[in-house]
Symmetry: C2
Subunit: 392 residues, 2 copies
């Protein structure tokens, strides 16, 4: 089904509610997805500001379409095997539904607010935010599907050098889809969770029809408590490991380290939390296998996280616990505003600010020269953020 069915009214206002998808161009050697909260973007240091470009503006929808895919990307009949694009979109939308339902079940009253948007040529997204609930102070779960065009230099940098190096392709169409979420609970003993799974494809350039199509998977799930309950951290990591181990025994150790490296607040010398898994640019495995792997990881969010929330959401706490949680949320803000590639680029290229910054907590705190007492519970958390541990 096309996006612009008769049931969909497309408003002329494009500035009020939608996710954005900045495109970044990296200097030669790399062209891929970046970890992005909640927008999806293509990683890169633009070689100059003019080499970055925006996708056309989104419009707000009053109804949720069955798919954001262009008609050409949809299976031609129900007996056709679906494209990876179609199956990935279906997967992230199911995960959005199930995660939001699980959160609403725990909330037992508060509901997500939904915004749906689309772009005229195909693509769109669904943004869901629950703010100041009974359990979560802010929970955002966003999916998006983006069609765009990348300049040929970026494509040449991305494709294997052995392929048709003498061909000079024109602009290269691409497809990007992803789910991204940050969940900040109220209770200082209940952890913040972030997850993001994304799929990227290029089409062949119009000027070089023989050029190969490229695809990549990226994503991860990471865990950010203010206090360590070792059984919780072990549970969270063991669910990640189980998901990984179903596919490749090297995945968990490799993606666990990648996560520790990525969520590093360099100016603090500490990670924002206790990690999890993170991977990017994955294409050197079977495509079906990676689609199953991303699906498995995304489906592991609920069993990895919700039991911990159920256990900690009503734990009694004192003001000092809340103050420490807010201090750690200050670190979350520092990471996202200073280092997170999707956030920083989104801010600089005019993305929809409220969608980009939905990842920020409701409250954060900066205390001058705060140093937890050695051996205290706060110190233990800080120590684990400075010196990443093997939890399993």
């Amino acid at each position: 089904m096309l996006l612009t069915t008769p049931k969909l009214s497309i408003s002329s206002s494009s500035s009020t509610t939608a996710l954005t998808f900045p495109i970044l161009l990296k200097k030669p050697g790399n062209f891929h997805f970046i970890q992005s909260t909640p927008n999806i973007s293509l990683r890169a240091q633009p070689t100059s500001s003019s080499s970055s470009q925006m996708i056309e503006k989104e419009t707000i929808e009053t109804h949720r379409p069955d798919t954001f895919l262009r008609e050409s990307d949809e299976p031609s009949s129900s007996s056709d095997p679906s494209t990876v694009r179609a199956r990935f979109e279906k997967m992230i939308r199911q995960v959005q539904d199930s995660v939001c339902a699980a959160i609403e079940a725990v909330e037992n009253g508060s509901k997500f607010k939904e915004d749906v948007w689309s772009r005229p040529g195909g693509g769109g997204g669904i943004s869901r935010v629950l703010q100041d609930g009974a359990v979560w102070e802010k929970a955002g779960v966003n999916v998006s599907v983006v069609y765009g065009v990348m300049p040929p230099e970026a494509y040449r940098a991305a494709k294997p050098t052995s392929d048709n190096d003498d061909v000079k392709p024109g602009p290269v169409p691409f497809f990007a889809a992803g789910i991204s979420s940050v969940l900040h609970p109220h209770n200082p003993f209940a952890p913040t969770l972030h997850f993001n799974y994304r799929y990227f494809e290029t089409d062949a350039s119009k000027d070089a029809p023989g050029a190969p199509r490229q695809w990549w998977f990226g994503g991860g799930t990471d865990y950010t408590p203010a206090y360590i309950f070792e059984e919780d951290v072990k549970h969270f990591h063991s669910v990640q490991k189980s998901a990984c181990d179903k596919f490749d025994p090297s995945f968990y150790p490799r993606f666990k380290k990648w996560c520790d490296d990525y969520f590093y607040i360099k100016h603090r010398g500490e990670r924002r939390g206790l990690g999890g898994i993170f991977f990017d640019d994955l294409n050197n495995y079977d495509q079906e296998m990676l689609l199953s792997f991303a699906t498995e990881c995304a489906n592991s969010v609920i069993p990895a996280y919700i039991p911990i929330i159920e256990k900690r959401k009503d734990t009694p706490f004192a003001d000092r616990h809340k103050a420490w949680q807010q201090l750690r949320r200050g670190r979350y803000v520092e990471f996202n505003l200073v280092y997170d590639r999707g956030t920083t680029f989104g801010l600089k290229t005019g993305g929809r600010i409220e969608s980009i910054l939905v990842s920020l907590p409701l409250y954060a705190r900066w205390e001058y020269d705060h140093k937890p007492e050695e051996g205290s519970e706060e110190w233990k958390l800080l120590d684990a953020c400075i010196n990443p541990k093997e939890w399993l």
Copy 2:
């Protein structure tokens, strides 16, 4: 008096308490101070990461020296006319004393915590922070004096092109001194204030003794309330204008606009506050005149700000006023972490993090898609941040 008098004990720990002074190198065409909170830095986009450099590590002092100048920079006798370096240092230290005394007088109990630091070859600073006082939630007032060396490329870019272009100078010594302060009160009707005044000089390169010495002044004072009391804003701006008008009638309009342009949160399309004055790279006026001008501006902080605090510090307020103040403080955090050149560079080059981030408020808040009701007091503030006004 030299820094390392017998009374000063220099500890071996350099990681605990001191301001930092990252050096940035700009691509050809510019080399000057940047607005910096609370550190001082030389503006620039580094052409590569290796072209940035750090100054040697600081050591903590137990006593406050009379001066942080090198002996060669001090007047040789009391009858000698002092150097601009010496007079600028004296001025900023007097302003630090007077501003801290004025704040403590209003606090009527809470006191600043002071950290003194130095560097072996000369230079040092005094950092003062008052946290969670009766009136201010966080107040930082820092002075610093820095000696460093800039690479010759930076110097060649900075000096007038007509001067000895065929000479290839070696590394160029420089001197930088400044005062920087951010004052965040508790009461949502009492405004945040930031000010920063700085002076910069290069020596002649050792390889090119005939090359000219360069100097610049920079600084500004800006006003960030959560609510507009027009009489307060007028008072603040009129004190700035009076200070400017004593020197040049073009200063206030020019520096007022410069301030509105500098403190711009691009991704929000709004300024962080209601402006004030801001200037940088000033050297095309008489040096004595600019020293007097910077002194006048710095001495205007107390009359511009303290009467407003006295008037608003005890105004009754509701939770919604506090929530709005914290939301605006979120914007302050966004500006400082994303745009402020001194902060962002300090974070990336390993400056002393607590000194750099003392500018952040104790509390900040991010609410999804918050839109003040049109015509409300909150809306009026936002409107004035989006559309800068002429207050006088």
